[in-house]
Amino acid sequence: MQKTDLLDKLQEIVGKERVSTSAAELYCYSFDASQVRGMPEFVIRPVSTAQVADVVRLAWEKGIPVTARGAGTGLAGGSVPVEGGIVLDMSSMNRIIEMDLDNLQVVVEPGIVQEKLNLALEPYGFFFPPDPGSSAMCTLGGLIANNGSGMRSVKYGTTRNYVLGLEVVLADGTVINTGSKTIKSVAGYSLTDLFVGSEGTLGIVTKAILKVRALPRERSVLLASFENPELAGKAVVKVLSSGIVPSACEILDSNIIDAINTYDPKVGLPRAGAILMFEVDGTESAVREGISMIEDACSSLATGIRAATNKKEREEIWAARRLVGAAVSRLHPMRTRVYVGEDIGVPIKEIPRMLHKVSEISEEFDIPIMTYGHIGDGNLHTGMCIDVLDDKDWEKLNKAADKIHRTAISIGGTVTAEHGVGGARAEYLELELGKALDVMILIKKALDPKGILNPGKMGV
């Protein structure tokens, strides 16, 4: 089929204004926040499940790749069309279809931004807990496709824990519904769980039933300073084994502390080798008790402990923490944060060992590595800033990232705890998953035998 014929058909489905083949547009959609690149031939902004299904059916008939995209904030190239074809920009499908709060759930389209859902829920006293750093930008579709999580996952878990059901467009354009509005259902395989985290390689999510939670009555933040990240890692293990479940447990190393203080001087974090940021939420008495238990657990290892005094201070701390991944670019005029090797997860007991390994890797490749992340669930973000015009910097960066990935796997960890595999980490899946990857490939073949859905991703 000629490209112009295809364009005509796509325009018939979604309307002329919702298809672009402009070079500028295609160029913009050839990126996300990772280093993966791929140029689409068409970008489409559908507004309904029917439009998505029709586009996918056409692509199925013609054997054209289809890559779904939310806000394009991904750090692994999940939404980058590495084999060209069609990009489906889902961000126009951004309605909250139903607020069924008596049933503690909402029904949403995938293009809604996480923060907008939470702003809509707040007046009713509810929230959707998965809280990535990109919550003001990322869409729920992206969160579902990557099983994203973030700062509160230590207590509240990942997106998967909140998805009750999905409407999914399959590779041939068939629309199915998985799960249900019931809290529990064991009717059949958990297809919902299969699609969550499948990065658009098995189907395209067009609707989701999500669980929400009542907002906690009280939240309190505690900052504990340490001489170095390893001591902080030990404190985390101690806190978590003491029986308290903080609603957030973040580590910031000294460079990250500088980056936060540079980005927002109001936050004024204390100087230290590392800081642990704990948040406890719940009833007033539970929060008080939790904070006191954390203080006790940290006291023998920390050099200082400080509580955020009010809501404003707490919110400023979290706002700055959310954006620190990019804010580290401010530390040096010629250097930019590059997201590679940035999302490892290890068993929590191995955190101090992994932190030690990261500092060894930093020395071995002579590249500063800043560490921050959701240490409470063993998820460390290792941040490297380079002069992106310097080829030698790139070489060091890629070698260090490779070693970080391999080291994490070797101690029983994962190459990606929440950002996704995409095109950036596909090469490690065989090493991490072994024969389980073969099963993934079988599933992919069963659901997408022509391989049109987000090809070139996840090692399938």
Binding site: D32, V43, S92, M137, G325, A327, M334
Partner: protein, 352 residues
């Protein structure tokens, strides 16, 4: 491409923070209409991306409101990159009809509005109060001169008691040219020569566009103040009555976010009446949609932005006050339920 712009682009990690706040993207919805998209397009152009209508629309739909730069965690400066890329393309003859019109009108007529009438006619009888020499010059601007002549005259009537004069042959400050990539130097020189001749050390303007241009693109020894700053410092001498009104205030981007003038207009308002703030204010104020050549080049898009900004007006206010005639013009196009006033209009009401 300038090295500083390339560095700014390379600072961008494409996190999408700007995309979530860009008021143009909020309306258009295509990635190329977001700040992140424009940074990519500017980069693409430097790498050989062909300059077609899509590229020009991407770059020219930016109002240069600066909220992206304000919130960018990496420290990138998209409005500067946009303006400089527009300039590079204009030098190559690649521009929209609106850009051409803005530049040719400003250079031929001394204003961007296509007006051929006597610019200083707004002075009316106050022409007799224009002095050859003064410490302060009131710069009325194109919109003040031609669209709001009464406002310009009343502003001057308030200011003249403080030893303020005007330029006899004022021309456009150059802001629309700078924003849209053209060279403003001829206009700058004409104004500057006259400013020097008055011996003034300070220029006073009531327009956010003139303010940012006079402050940042004219010689640094000239002090530039907004009329609200000038008068906020002289409230004790103004004998303003209290009014039983409640008003809201729109921060012009090029006055507030880009130059930090937030408090002076608020101080004037609260000395006269009650202030009930809009939904997004100060550094996070939402653009009215007029700046950066967007009102001229993309009037419908500009109007849609104005409508959304009008949606930020709180319930129960008598007026929306602003301190820029371009914002005022566009906010009116946004169809507010209340009248949009200049801050001078409010002061006049308190002086009656």
């Amino acid at each position: 491409m300038l090295e500083s712009d390339m560095r700014s682009i390379l600072k961008c990690v494409r996190c999408g923070t700007c995309r979530s706040v860009c008021p143009i993207f909020d309306v258009v919805g295509w990635e190329s209409s977001s700040s992140r998209g424009r940074m990519l397009v500017a980069h693409g152009v430097s790498q050989g991306l062909e300059v077609d209508e899509g590229v020009l629309n991407s770059l020219n739909t930016c109002t240069t409101c600066g909220i992206c730069e304000q919130l960018c965690p990496s420290g990138a400066a998209p409005p500067k990159v946009v303006e400089n890329t527009r300039h590079q393309l204009v030098l190559q003859g690649k521009m929209t009809q609106a850009q051409k019109d803005i530049a040719s009108r400003a250079n031929e007529l001394g204003n961007t509005l296509g007006e051929t009438g006597e610019r200083m006619a707004w002075l009316g009888e106050s022409a007799k109060d224009v002095r050859e020499k003064a410490d302060y010059v009131y710069f009325a601007g194109c919109l003040g001169s031609y669209r709001y002549p009464e406002l310009a005259r009343r502003t001057f009537d308030i200011l003249k008691r403080f030893g303020v004069t005007v330029l006899k042959d004022e021309v456009c400050c150059g802001s629309p040219l700078l924003r849209t990539g053209s060279d403003p130097m001829e206009l700058v020189s004409r104004n500057l020569e006259q400013i020097r001749a008055t011996g003034a050390h300070t220029i006073i303007t009531g327009c956010a566009g003139c303010y940012t241009t006079l402050k940042n693109d004219y010689p640094g020894d000239l002090k530039v103040v907004h009329v609200s700053e000038f008068l906020a410092d002289r409230l004790a001498e103004m004998d303003l009555k209290k009014l039983d009104l409640k008003v809201s205030y729109h921060d012009p981007c090029h006055l507030g976010r880009c130059n930090g003038v937030f408090d002076a207009p608020r101080n004037i308002i609260t000395s006269i009446c009650d202030l009930k703030e809009m939904k997004n204010i100060r550094e996070k104020s939402r653009c009215c949609g007029a700046g950066g050549g967007v009102l001229k080049g993309y009037p419908e898009l500009s109007q849609e932005l104005a409508k959304r900004r009008v949606g930020d007006i709180p319930e129960g206010v008598d007026y929306l006050v602003t301190s820029c005639p371009l914002c005022r013009t566009n906010l009116k196009r946004g169809g507010p339920e209340v009248e949009v006033l200049d801050i001078i209009d409010l002061m006049e009401m308190a002086m009656e």
